[in-house]
Amino acid sequence: MNFDDTPQEAEFRAKARAFLEQHLEPLNPDEVSPNLLGEREDEGAIQKAKDWQATKYDNGWAVLTWPKEYGGQGMGRLENVIFNQEEGKFKTPAAIYGIGHGMLGPTLMTHGTEEQKERYLKEMARGQVVWCQLFSEPAAGSDLAGLRTSAVKDGDEWVLNGQKIWSTGAHFCDLGMIVTRTDPELPKHDGLTYFIVDMNAPGVECRPIKQINGGAGFNEVFFNDVRVPAEYRVGGIGEGWKVAITTLMNERVSIGAGGGAGRTKDLFRLARECRKNGRPAIEDTAVRQRLADAFITSKGLQYTGYRTMSAISRGATPGPEGSIGKAVGAPFSQELAAFAMELQGVMGGVMDSSVAPQDAMWQESYLGSPGIRIAGGTDEILRNVIAERVLGLPGEHRSDKGVPFRDIPSGS
């Protein structure tokens, strides 16, 4: 056991830092942590993100954990953590590659053909082509396998019809990965097929959806007789569920160590700045108790993430334990924000960053965190995963097993 860098890790950290210093402006230590939510990217912001990704790639600092043949550096997850820790100390452009690099790339590595890997992975790594995930539909979210977007074979092509929704970044993405239903006569998990889809193909229409925080990071995407070449299929016909599961497993791992972990520093500052009963809030007993809990959960999440990384870097396969990070971290980030707003008293209702403490970061966070609790598996779904796959408790009673998809009851 060792929480410190080994000499090799320290050397790697120093090299990473030297690279970052050449290209980025460091965050002032007094500055509040950057807003984690983003979602308000304009074209300029996307371009900046692409430029930074190209710089990283060209200097050998992109997708560190990917194999070299696919444009990565073949490094372990710990090096990746170290790089992310260092990068987090600088002002960086919007993070738009989480889905592509964390989930879709690894899916293609597992299930793609040699030609697909050859054609897409390096390009994805350099980030000039951005990818989105087209899974959820109006009638299929938690119950993803209930999706209805259809793909019908027509000669050498497939023809897609239907609607996806909540597709993060689809409005600025060039390519997507989509799960479709190719056989509604089969039970629901059996009739699915996975494709790559060109977001600029005729018949694809993308409409941004305005979120509760005013941003429009996600979209509804309509498919109207969209023709997809046969070689865009990932995995076998009817094997879409298996491929989708790979994507979702990678999602849980990549969300892993997140969840407001770095923000207790800002919270302590705020508690010194705000006043309660005529003295700094940090002197109030109730406030102190809650600060303690915030610190403990935040550290617990951080070290839980490190434990997972540590196990993976020693050969363990990422398992369902990775769900803890999101199951605890997502509701925690909302609680933290609510607490910080409480500290601000009546000013908690003010979001004008000219007068709101810490650039109204906590109000932003309180508006953003409900989305984090839903995206990538709701609180309930994650508890099901932990209960069934980690603890081994019985699965849910279900009325859709073995029934042809067509005959499954639905609410719409």
Binding site: M1, N2, F3, D4, D5, T6, E9, L78, V81, T264, K265, D266, F268, R269, I282, T285, R288, Q289, L291, A292, D293, F295, I296, T297, K299, G300, L301, Q302, Y303, T304, Y306, R307, S310, A311, R314, E321, I324, A327, V328, E380, L382, R383, N384, I386, A387, E388, V390, L391, G392, L393, P394, G395, E396, H397
Partner: protein
Amino acid sequence: MNLEFSDDQKFVQQTARDYLEEHATLDKCRAVLEGSGTHDPELWKGVAEMGWLGAAVPEEYGGAGLGYLELVLISQEVGRSLAPIPFSSSVYLATEAILQAGSEDQKKDLLGRLSAGELIGTFALAEGLGDFDPGTCQVSFDGSQLNGTKLPVPDAGAAGIAVVVAREGEGTSLALVDLDGAGVTRTPLESFDPSRPLYQVDFEGAPATRLGAAGEGAAVASDVLDRAAVLLGYEQIGGAERTLELTKEQTMSRFAFGRPVASFQALKHRMADVYCKIQIALSNGYYAAWTLSEGSEEVGVASCSTRVAASDAFCLATEEMIQMYGGVGYTWEYDCHLFYRRAKGTAHALGTPDEWREKLVQRLDKTIGG
């Protein structure tokens, strides 16, 4: 960075588990809880022979010379088994205090006997209602004698010596007292967890010797409590893990409405929550164990975090256990209350979680975001 215990350390843990599964079955805990004894002497002897009492004591003083990374894993197993022995009082508190503050002679005289289990130690700090604070003790020490009342003192019935936190002049000192000696009266108290019983100890001119420098007592005691918080935290985590396993077993085999009650989502989700709480405690525990074994100053913060998270996880797990067992969980006959009692007993043993939250913020306020 490497957040895994080594194979050797895991082996120590497995050995401890195997031993305790055979020798510290729950009926042993129940026997002490229902009886009038102070602990299970057979088990104590066995644990001493396994070398656990002196696991972190250097070999030159008669210990096993392992380290804290081994000791925490043994503690986790002791907690898991609900062993009815004065492990925390003697190993985490008395032995640690002597290691920290003892003179060479005191160490030579006592550590070997403590490690061999011939002598049992405890730690006397509390004086009735109020904060568990070494700085405010009223029991007095004049350099040779103790006067006053300590309440409650854990395991004072089994123990032969106590490390007493006492006022000496304007300051606070630690004193070593022979509990079988003159001027000491021990009165057993009805205890929330009778498998780790509590006592009132009255000193009337009891002969005692100083441990460590005069006036340094509060600082040393605070240090000892930090270390004990990590070790006891691992006991609590072990207890919580076992609690969850038993809850799962019970709910899988109990049927209602034609299905195992474990298949009801309300129960599944609550078990998932307990699991998450345990993991958050364990992750804080990893860091604390590491700071302990490195002798890092960070142990001050890490111990508080572990203490709070582990106490809360164990209490939650046992509260949920009784509910998920249903009516049988509320019977004396079933073992749920053994866990429920141990959880709350350990949560109060070193000062309550709320006190440790306060201590945590005091310490963080000096370092964080300043």
